[in-house]
Each structure stands twice: as structure tokens, then as C-alpha cells.
């Protein structure tokens, strides 16, 4: 049986400075297949996808469309070549209707909007994806996140493309909605469309994909047919990519100011009834994939989520959620995952950033003295591990790793801090920086405060946590001491592979 390849990449190499994002990757997508793209963060999946969608130009290598060599130099060209994609950046316009959004995604060039003419087609697309209960004239702003995600996918399918790339399409979807996506995928591939499915979720990949390509460190490790693959085999393949974890000797935790207990935590009707606690001096790691709710929990504890409720007791005192001021007062300090948007003052110097959030403490009667600020900045700079000579440099001139260190360093040695929350503490940070940041976090924890961090990266969870809590679709699935579990178990619970065979602890 001859299977034609719709798009083929051969020997793709891409460097970002000294970092080798792709080191000679070859990949092939057959007509009408659903092809999974797997790999841990940093494996090169997103870079590969970007070369296919025209966002990024490869340094070496060649792309072939239907057997012909092509260069895709822009996203627009990719679209012209019949490639559509849906990624994390939702590009729907909330103040426009569903049919208007679908029309905008298309390439028609008519003067009049012609909504009535296109409405039947819109209804058909909505039915296909299970959104038939929605009216095409409804404003997208009134849709839930799940419905919007389904709409984005529908729009991509509705463009009559040959190739559709879905990047973590189900992160925000309910089980029912995921089934609808699968149904739409099956319909569309039956008509000859090919789908690349980038995801961490093994149970979905097993259900819907025909083949899977696993990447690691910028290279393709293997491409396999799903059908013949053992369920646990796939898990092992994924987990097997991780290095051995050194046993970090954890001393007995005495507890301290950072003892906390959380019960009945509910956020946005998505995270429900989460309960966990730890003693000061322990590092609690919340493991969960994108959209599992781990990040939401941290934000809610920091007071950034108005629709959150629950009982939080920190250091013996309860405080009410929903206000950043109350959280701060209670001693909760938050390092968000968006250091540029929500964390650092980019055009200010490092010293200024370090002392920015502790001015009330450094001040006497609301007056700050220069020398006190300078001393504090120097001290924090040293603690952060960023070279002191860079005190006067602006933060935006630092690398991602150093920026993150400043961001975290700002919260160190804070007399009023009782609980430190870190959301993706090493996002966008290289290996060396990551190790240094982990050390920072351990030092912070050693002072007796509570530390909760969330991460989508398994190795970070295993390296840093004393206790691991696993989140899946808004529920806290399991809480285990690090010493009682292993990487494979944690991973399978993150991806909710029930009854993993042959993987007892």
C-alpha cells in the first residue's frame, strides 16, 4: 500500500545562538493520518512546528510538500500552502460573533459580509464539533474557554486546509468536548486532511493517533505506529528519556512559620475541593500538565483569582482569598510564570527590582535611605546568584535565567514571608540556571518557610520536591512523599494512565 507523504521535513537544523533547538530532524506526515508529536519541554517540538508554519526558517534542511521542495517563509505563505494550526495563543475576537470569527479566519475577499449566505456552512461546522447548540450570531465573548478552544479548532478545519497542526488542543477541554474534537478529527481525516497532534496526553494520543514521533534534545528518537504499541510501552518510552534522579537527602522537617493547611479550595468552578498541607521547611511540588489547575491554585493563593474560595490556614492564621493585599499581609509571596508581564520592572535596574517590593520594610516612618537600599540590593543580589557587577544594569538586558533569579531573589530573606509560591520557576531557563534556581529555592525553604511550586516538567518535580501533589483536570489526584514514588508513577498520574501495567513503585 503506497502511502503518500503530504509534508516531509529532512535534516532540519535550527540554532538559536549557541542553543541547538533542532539537530537534523526528519519528519514525515502521511495523507489522512493523525500523527502525534511527543517530547518533554525543550525537546524541539515547538521549533519543528514553527518551521512547518513558517514562523521560523531552518538553518539547514529542506521541506517537501506533496513531494515538491518548498520554502515556507511566512505564516501567510504556510496558510496559502494549505497549512492551518491551532496553538496556545487563542486568536478569536471576543466582541465578534462566531460566524464573523470563522469568516475572518478564512481567505475570502468579498466586499459585503454575506453572513446569510455563509450561515449554513457555519452551522455545519458547529455541528461537526458538537457546538450545534450555539447560534452562529452569538458573540464569542459569551463562550466558555472550552467552547472557544473548540471553535478555534473548528475554524482551522473549516479553512479547507490539507494539513492541520493542533498544539495541546485539549488542555482546557472537558472529556465530552475532547470526544467531540476526536469525532471532528476522524471526519476530517476521512476526507483526506492530515493532522499533526502535539500533546503530552498519552491517553488521547493512544485513542486518536495513528503514529507517534518522540523527540528529545532537538532530535527524533523514534517514530512508531500506535497500534502495535503497548500502552505502558509508550509511557516507558517517554519516561525513559529522563536521566536518573539523584536522591536528595531530605532532613526531617521541623516545621516553622511556613506550616500551612488548605481545604476545600475551589477556583472558577474548574478546580474543585483541593486539600493539602505541609510543614514549613518542606518543598511541595504541584505536578500537572498545562490546564490541570496547578498554576491556578498558586494564583488563587496569591489572591489573583477573584472567583476562588476555600479555607487556607498559614502559620496558624486563616486568611481570605481574593485579594493580593490580604495575601501579602498574611505572608504569601508569589513568583508568577510571566516574569515580564507580571513580575519584573523591565526597564529598571537590577537593584531597583530587588528592593521594589520590600520598601515598606526597609523604610523608617515611610522614608527610605539610599544606603539601606543599596545594602539590601547588594545582599539580595548575592543571594540571587547574579553577578554583583550587574547591579546597575537594567533587567531586560539579562538572560531569561538571570531575570528569573532576580525575580525569585526579590522574595528571599523577607522577614514577613511565610509562604513562597513559584509558578514554573525555571520556564525559559537553561540547564545551568535551572540548577542554580533550584538551589535558591532550597535555601529559601531551609529557613522554615513554606514553599509550593508548580511545574509541567517531570524532572523538575522529581528533583526539587519533598512532597508531590499531582493535578489532573482540576482535581488533586494524589499526594505522595517524594521518597515514596518514582518518575514513572508521577508521570502516569499526570497523564492519568489508569492501571499502568508493570509499574509498581
Amino acid at each position: 500500500m503506497v502511502t503518500e507523504s503530504v509534508i516531509r521535513a529532512e535534516g532540519i537544523v535550527k540554532h538559536y545562538g549557541p542553543v541547538k533547538a533542532l539537530q537534523g530532524v526528519s519528519f514525515e506526515l502521511r495523507k489522512g493520518e493523525v500523527h502525534a508529536l511527543l517530547g518533554h519541554n525543550g525537546a524541539g517540538k515547538s521549533t519543528l512546528v514553527k518551521t512547518l508554519t513558517g514562523s521560523v526558517q531552518p538553518d539547514e534542511g529542506q521541506l517537501f510538500l506533496d513531494g515538491e521542495a518548498v520554502t515556507i517563509s511566512s505564516p501567510h505563505e504556510a496558510q496559502l500552502n494549505g497549512i492551518s494550526w491551532v496553538d496556545q495563543e487563542l486568536t478569536l475576537i471576543p466582541n465578534l460573533s462566531i460566524e464573523d470569527n470563522i469568516a475572518l479566519g478564512g481567505m475570502e475577499k468579498t466586499f459585503l459580509a454575506q453572513r446569510k449566505q455563509h450561515r449554513p456552512r457555519v452551522r455545519q461546522l458547529l455541528d461537526q464539533i458538537g457546538l450545534g447548540h450555539l447560534s452562529p450570531t452569538q458573540e464569542v465573548g459569551t463562550l466558555s474557554i472550552g467552547e472557544r478552544q473548540l471553535l478555534e479548532i473548528t475554524r482551522a478545519f473549516g479553512r479547507n486546509s490539507k494539513i492541520v497542526i493542533l498544539d495541546e488542543p485539549t488542555a482546557t477541554l472537558s472529556d465530552f468536548e475532547i470526544e467531540r474534537v476526536f469525532a471532528a478529527i476522524r471526519e476530517v481525516t476521512a476526507e483526506g486532511v492530515s493532522v499533526i497532534y502535539v500533546s503530552h496526553r498519552l491517553e488521547e494520543i493512544i485513542q486518536i493517533c495513528d503514529r507517534a514521533t518522540i523527540m528529545r534534545d532537538g532530535q527524533v528518537v523514534t517514530t512508531q505506529e500506535i497500534a502495535g504499541l503497548d500502552k505502558s510501552g509508550l509511557v516507558n518510552l517517554m519516561v525513559g528519556q529522563l536521566p536518573e534522579f539523584a536522591e536528595v537527602a531530605s532532613s526531617a522537617k521541623e516545621g516553622g512559620s511556613g506550616d500551612f493547611e488548605i481545604t476545600n479550595l475551589t477556583i472558577n468552578d474548574f478546580v474543585r475541593d483541593v486539600a493539602f498541607g505541609a510543614k514549613g521547611g518542606e518543598i511541595f511540588g504541584l505536578a500537572g500538565q498545562l490546564g490541570s489547575g496547578a498554576s491556578l491554585i498558586l494564583r488563587a493563593l496569591a489572591g489573583l483569582e477573584p472567583k476562588s474560595s476555600g479555607r487556607v490556614v498559614l502559620s496558624g492564621k486563616q486568611f481570605r482569598l481574593g485579594s493580593t493585599l490580604r495575601a501579602r499581609k498574611a505572608g504569601v509571596y508569589f513568583v508568577s510564570n510571566d516574569r515580564k508581564g507580571e513580575g519584573l520592572f523591565l526597564s529598571y535596574t537590577n537593584s531597583k527590582n530587588l528592593t521594589a517590593t520590600r520598601l515598606p520594610i526597609l523604610a523608617k516612618a515611610s522614608i527610605v535611605s539610599r544606603s539601606v537600599l543599596k545594602k539590601s540590593a547588594q545582599q539580595l543580589m548575592q543571594l540571587s546568584g547574579v553577578d554583583i557587577s550587574r547591579r546597575k544594569m537594567t533587567v531586560d538586558s539579562l538572560s531569561g535565567g538571570n531575570q528569573q533569579k532576580i525575580f525569585i531573589g526579590r522574595n528571599l530573606n523577607h522577614p514577613k514571608m511565610k509562604l513562597l509560591l513559584l509558578d514554573e520557576p525555571t520556564r525559559g531557563v537553561d540547564v545551568k540556571g535551572r540548577a542554580e534556581i533550584h538551589q535558591l529555592i532550597r535555601e529559601a525553604s531551609a529557613s522554615g518557610i513554606g514553599v509550593i511550586f508548580s511545574s509541567t516538567e517531570l524532572d523538575e518535580i522529581m528533583e526539587l520536591s519533598d512532597t508531590i501533589g499531582i493535578m489532573h483536570k482540576g482535581k488533586l489526584v494524589n499526594v505522595e512523599a517524594r521518597s515514596n514514588t518514582n518518575a514513572a508513577k508521577v508521570f502516569s498520574e499526570m497523564v492519568r494512565e489508569l492501571e499502568p501495567e508493570g509499574m509498581k513503585a
Partner: protein
């Protein structure tokens, strides 16, 4: 999706940093050159009395501009009703001056703080648009001003009271208002650099979301910035009333202040700039006005030139700050 960030990226921005600095510096040198050249070719321009005149006319407008600067630094653009507040509070001052200059000044300062503080609350707590709120507040104040002046088109200084006239004298050839300006700049800069609230004004202006996440009370800081503005503008009102002895029409303060703040180099996006820069901007505005007057330009032409200068400065500043939201 996560992107692998390059390891040694610290030096990469150095090149673009050099470019950024150059653009603003080049523009500043260019403007300075034009101003100096025009000054040279204008008869009798570079004399001591001219510069004295420039300094003296800049006093009150500089104080208003300093007030507006607090708003700009906190990320709240500027007010479109500074002139009206100066008018209304000037009238009120003349009505109250019989109580003695210092009590009257104090009351006016408090009134200014309240007028601006209320606007600050609407902007800071409710998130209302600052331009629209200040326009609306302006018309409310205008209504009050018109009521106060009643059938008289002007409020004349109360006869026989001279206790406050020292406010319009010169000391060492320089008007009291200019000395006051220096004093206010020093106090204001101390406030901005040495107090928690002052430093937080900068932080809120630089990155509001980051400030909020870091636990800074953004609403309170906004109100404080507005109150600082109100106090400055109120003080300018007392000086104006003392100087002109009657208060019947709005001065050019609103837009002159905006021009002074932006020309001085304070960023319209917030978080960057200083009161000293604003004083410098006010002096440039004054220099320009004086020069245009001596060259015989009529007022609308002066406005036109001011507009060109402002437009150019705003464009250059925003260009050099690309990347900030």
C-alpha cells in the same frame, strides 16, 4: 509552548541599547541647536534681562507642570482641566485671603488635594478613563467658578488687604513664584525618591500588573499621585491669584503643562522621568514663548510651533521606548 532561551544573552541587547540612547540624544541635540540658532539670530535675545524674563514667566507654569508630572509618572497620562482648577482655586483664594495668607493658602491646598483626590479615586478605584474624568471634573469646576463670579466677569482682589502681596514680589531679581518652584521641586523629588509612596508611584507607572502582583496597593498609590498633583496646582493657583489680582479667565496651563512634562522627557507611559526634567521642559517652553514673542509671532502661531515640538518629542520618545506596553 516553552522556548529554549539562549544562554549568554546578556550582551545581545547592548547594541540595541546604544541605538536607543542615541535616538533621544540626537533629537535633543537637534532641538537644542535649533533653539540656540534662532535665539542668536533674534535681536537682543541673549541678554540677562531676557533670561530673567524667561525664568520669571516659567514659575507658575512650572509648578502646574510639576503637579501634572506626578500623574504622568504614575501612568495616568495628564489632566485636561488644570487651567480650570487654577481659575477656581484662585478665585477661592481671593475670597478667603482676608483670613490671612497662610490659613488661606492652607485651605486652598486642602481643596486642591480633595478635588484631585476624588478624581484619583475614580481613576484608581473604578478604572475610569483619566482624560474623560478630568474633562468632566473641569466642567463641574467651571460651573462653580462661573457661579462664584456671578454677574461679575471678574473677581477683584479684596480692597485694602495687602498681607499676601509679598507673593508677587521679586527677591534678588527673581519672582517669588520661581523661588517657590525651586522649593517645590526639592520637596517633590525628596518625596519621589525617599518615601515609600513616592517610589511606588514610579513602580506602578512602570508596570502596573507587576506592582499589583507584588502586593503594592495600586489604588492607593494612584490617589496619592493625584493628591500630589492637586496640591501643586492649588499652590500655583494662589500664586496666580496673588500676581494678577483678579481671576477671570483660564490661563494656558492645561496644554502648556502637558507640553512641558513631555518635552522635559518624562515618559507618557509612566515610570520614567522626574520633576527636574519637567522644570527643564517648562524652561524650554518659556524660552520658546519668549523667543516667538520677540520675533513677533502671534499666539496661535506659538501654539502651532508648540504643537510641532510636542508631536516630535512624543514620537521620538515613544520610538525609543518600543517594547514597553
Amino acid at each position: 509552548m516553552t522556548v529554549i532561551s539562549p544562554v549568554a544573552a546578556d550582551s545581545k541587547s547592548l547594541g540595541s541599547l546604544v541605538k536607543k540612547v542615541s535616538l533621544v540624544q540626537v533629537a535633543a541635540v537637534l532641538v537644542a541647536a535649533i533653539l540656540i540658532i534662532f535665539g542668536v539670530i533674534t535681536n537682543n535675545f541673549f541678554t540677562l534681562s531676557t533670561f530673567q524674563g524667561i525664568l520669571n514667566t516659567s514659575g507658575i507654569i512650572a509648578i502646574v507642570s510639576i503637579g501634572v508630572t506626578f500623574m504622568t509618572l504614575s501612568g495616568n497620562l495628564f489632566t485636561l482641566s488644570a487651567s480650570v482648577t487654577v481659575l477656581v482655586l484662585g478665585q477661592a483664594f481671593l475670597e478667603l485671603v482676608h483670613l490671612g495668607p497662610f490659613p488661606a493658602i492652607l485651605i486652598i491646598l486642602v481643596m486642591g488635594a480633595i478635588i484631585f483626590g476624588l478624581q484619583g479615586w475614580l481613576v484608581g478605584r473604578l478604572g475610569a478613563n483619566v482624560i474623560i474624568i478630568t474633562v468632566a471634573a473641569g466642567f463641574l469646576q467651571q460651573g462653580v467658578a462661573e457661579y462664584l463670579s456671578g454677574s461679575n466677569p471678574s473677581i477683584l482682589a479684596p480692597a485694602g488687604i495687602t498681607s499676601y502681596l509679598w507673593m508677587r514680589n521679586t527677591y534678588g531679581g527673581i519672582l517669588f513664584s520661581v523661588w517657590a518652584m525651586f522649593g517645590i521641586v526639592i520637596l517633590g523629588e525628596l518625596f519621589l525618591r525617599r518615601t515609600v509612596a513616592g517610589r511606588q508611584i514610579y513602580l506602578v507607572g512602570e508596570n502596573r500588573a507587576a506592582a499589583r502582583t507584588a502586593g503594592i496597593n495600586v489604588k492607593r498609590v494612584t490617589i496619592i499621585a493625584f493628591i500630589a498633583a492637586g496640591i501643586c496646582i492649588a499652590f500655583a493657583a494662589t500664586l496666580q491669584a496673588a500676581y494678577t489680582q483678579n481671576v477671570y479667565s483660564q490661563g494656558p496651563y492645561t496644554f502648556d503643562a502637558i507640553v512641558a512634562v513631555l518635552i522635559g522627557g518624562t515618559s507618557v507611559l509612566g515610570g520614567k522621568g522626574s520633576l527636574i526634567r519637567t522644570v527643564f521642559g517648562a524652561l524650554v517652553v518659556s524660552y520658546l514663548s519668549q523667543m516667538m514673542i520677540m520675533r513677533g509671532y502671534n499666539p496661535p502661531t506659538q501654539i502651532f510651533v508648540q504643537g510641532l515640538l510636542l508631536f516630535g518629542v512624543v514620537v521620538v520618545m515613544q520610538l525609543s521606548e518600543r517594547g514597553r506596553n
